[in-house]
């Protein structure tokens, strides 16, 4: 493999990633519960200070208190990491994926007649955490830049390691 091949690979990968992200596919997100649409994904990121420090005071956290404190001592970055670390806590999010509006969900007959639900397996908030972390969020100023850069660096590193192994071998 030559450097030219690596660059071509990176370009193809970047193009694939970019074109997938901007496709004209459905904008209706799969797997969202209706109630989630009325809840902030990152409470307190720039809002009131107290909000978001404790995801739910009535539930036992899935991480030890000392670990949580360590995360929090790193400010916003720590809080984002904490959100990611606890995002798979089975107690935290409901798996129910009904798409009726709040309150309307009580109209069981209507819900079953009119609405279909689909399951991506990842609740919306978790996906958004990952998107924010990789710069793929529609709200992030970095856009796709960070994701493409990370992807490119990984490909180059793997390619470099492979060529070095071959040279040493």
């Amino acid at each position: 493999m030559t450097w030219r091949t690596y660059i071509a690979m990176v370009a193809v990968a970047a193009f694939t990633l970019f074109s997938h992200g901007t496709s004209a596919a459905s904008i209706i997100p799969p797997g969202n519960s209706a109630a989630d649409q009325y809840t902030e994904a990152f409470p307190g990121a720039t809002g009131n200070e107290q909000a978001g420090r404790i995801p739910n005071p009535n539930r036992k956290p899935s991480l030890p208190e000392t670990t949580i404190k360590k995360f929090r001592s790193h400010g916003q970055v720590g809080n984002a990491a904490l959100a990611l670390a606890t995002s798979t806590d089975p107690n935290r999010y409901s798996d129910s994926l009904e798409k009726a509006g709040k309150g309307e969900a009580k109209r069981r007959s209507r819900v079953t007649e009119d609405e279909s639900s689909s399951d991506s397996g990842i609740p919306d908030k978790n996906l958004e955490v990952i998107k924010q972390a990789t710069g793929m969020s529609g709200y992030g100023d970095m856009g796709y830049g960070l994701a493409i850069t990370l992807f490119a660096v990984t490909i180059i590193a793997i390619g470099y390691a492979a060529s070095r192994n071959r040279a040493l071998g």
Partner: protein, 488 residues
């Protein structure tokens, strides 16, 4: 002398002009189709009576266009004729009649299109009734709606009588949210504000052509924007809808405007009554002052054209889930935040708010759990409506009262349970006893405001009005805390 007369006349004119600073009311009410209307008339009446007793004046009735209109459009269908036999008005007639009979003012919120009024190439994931609703068909339905509830239309169920008159009509629900309005965007281009503008303006014209005195509400905004345009953040949506370049300036070379008499927002909050959403264009309860500035700017530049100079702002959906929802507010907090939410809304210029549900949903319903079901009622769920147990927060909704300490003592705000004028006694608790510190007169809409100079700036304050006592409000500051509005 002539100058003096002119000056006096001008002063009188200025004084006579409607001003926002005049005493503002805060009317409350409920939205809960399930408790009020999807039950037997006896049970529905019982809940409507309870809503009235809870201080409710308004009730928002969800009008499902797709269930009233025929499934297939008949060839000779006259959509603007409320007497067309293809329409099925029975349940709505009953809902309006029972609401009015129980002393409540109904507001009809029409949404969800029948299949034949939806656009082509629908996204299979889109909820039925939400795909490109046809503005012309919707306006014709609006015309039928306002004609039927004009106060002159014969009641088919009771000969010799007419159906009640309804004064408030709302065009759609949360058009910035994919659960109710689609498409929000296509190929990265945001479409929903322009599509909704067409829908709203045509609906407005249709309603006013029949009843110029009727009031049209723009749809309530969902509070939180989502990435990739799945939900357009409400302030962004309003700017696009009303052709505003910023929160204070109109866009140049944009002549579009919207026609509405009342603005509506659903300021659900992921926190307490002062919580501001993290998104700059989101509108939670703590963001209402910014919403008000934006609406006032749109008013100023004639981007919202209605019957009044200042477009009134309503909040037709708001609530928090409480216990027994494990993610809901504990009752001690629910009592405080319910009263404070009403205060913050009043402070932000909201004149009418309707609380989302009077009766809790059960804990589970099929696959649905706590997070999907609203436990935001003021009564715990029960199968037997006559045995429903009220929550302690009901008292705070019925007789909201708050008090906050300041440098010289504390200031307070409240609204009498019957929204009428009268004398209110303010008391402070010292030890186990209550001491009267002042008496205040509530204005004609029941609002009372005042301040007390005292060195004793701790403990609880309460208000007494006739035979009622407000929930005692602690002067101790309670910080904002994270709670999902629907718990879970």
């Amino acid at each position: 002398m002539r100058r003096l007369v002119l000056l006096s006349v001008l002063s009188l004119v200025v004084l006579a002009l409607p001003s926002e600073s005049q005493a503002r009311p805060l009317h409350t009410g409920f939205v809960d189709n399930v408790a009020f209307y999807d039950v037997s008339p006896d049970v529905g009446n019982l809940w409507l009576k309870r809503a009235r007793h809870a201080g409710g004046k308004f009730v928002r009735i969800n009008v499902y266009w797709d269930t009233i209109a025929p499934v297939d459009r008949p060839a000779n269908f006259e959509p603007s004729n409320p007497a067309d036999p293809a329409y099925k008005w029975g349940l709505l007639d009953q809902a309006v009649k029972s609401s009015v009979a129980n002393g409540l003012t109904p507001m009809l919120m029409a949404f969800l299109a029948p299949k034949w009024a939806e656009g082509p190439h629908r996204d299979p994931d889109a909820r039925l009734g939400t795909w490109e609703p046809d503005p012309v068909q919707f306006s014709e339905f609006g015309e039928a709606l306002v004609k039927r509830y004009s106060g002159h239309f014969p009641d088919p169920a009771a000969p010799q009588t007419t159906l009640p008159k309804v004064d408030y009509f709302q065009a759609w629900n949360e058009p910035n949210l994919f659960l109710y309005f689609n498409p929000q965007a296509k190929n990265g281009k945001i479409l929903s504000p322009a599509a909704y503008r067409e829908l709203l303006n045509r609906f407005y014209s249709a309603v006013k052509s029949v009843r110029p005195d009727a009031r049209v509400l723009a749809a309530g905004m969902a509070p939180i924007g989502r990435p990739n345009h799945a939900v357009i953040a409400p302030k962004d949506f309003i700017r696009r809808l009303a052709c505003m370049r910023s929160n204070s300036k109109p866009r140049r070379n944009c002549s579009a405007f919207i026609r509405a008499d009342i603005w509506d927002s659903h300021p659900f909050t992921t926190g307490g009554p002062t919580h501001q959403a993290s998104g700059k264009d989101d509108i939670s309860l703590g963001d209402l002052p910014e919403l008000r500035s934006l609406i006032r700017a749109a008013d100023k530049h004639k981007k919202i054209r209605g019957v009044t100079r200042f477009t009134p702002i309503w909040a037709t959906e708001f609530s928090w889930d409480t216990k027994p929802d494990p993610g809901g507010l504990p009752m001690s907090l629910a009592k405080r935040w319910t009263a404070e939410a009403l205060y913050r809304m009043w402070q932000s210029g909201i004149s009418v708010m309707t609380w989302l549900s009077i009766l809790d949903a059960p804990s589970t319903l099929g696959d649905l759990g706590w997070a999907e079901l609203a436990q935001s009622g003021f009564y715990f769920y029960t199968k037997d409506a006559t045995k429903a147990r009220p929550k302690a927060s009901l008292r705070a909704f019925r007789f909201p009262f708050v008090a906050f300490k300041n440098r010289k003592g504390f200031h307070f705000w409240g609204r009498t349970p019957d929204s009428r004028k009268g004398r209110v006694v303010i008391q402070i608790r010292k030890g186990r006893r209550w001491y009267t510190v002042t008496k205040e007169r509530a204005d004609r809409s029941g609002i009372f405001v005042g301040s007390v100079r005292t060195r004793h700036r701790r403990g609880y304050i309460r208000a007494l009005y006739r035979n009622s006592s407000a929930v005692p409000f602690s002067l101790k500051n309670v910080p904002d805390k994270y709670y999902r509005p629907f718990g879970g």
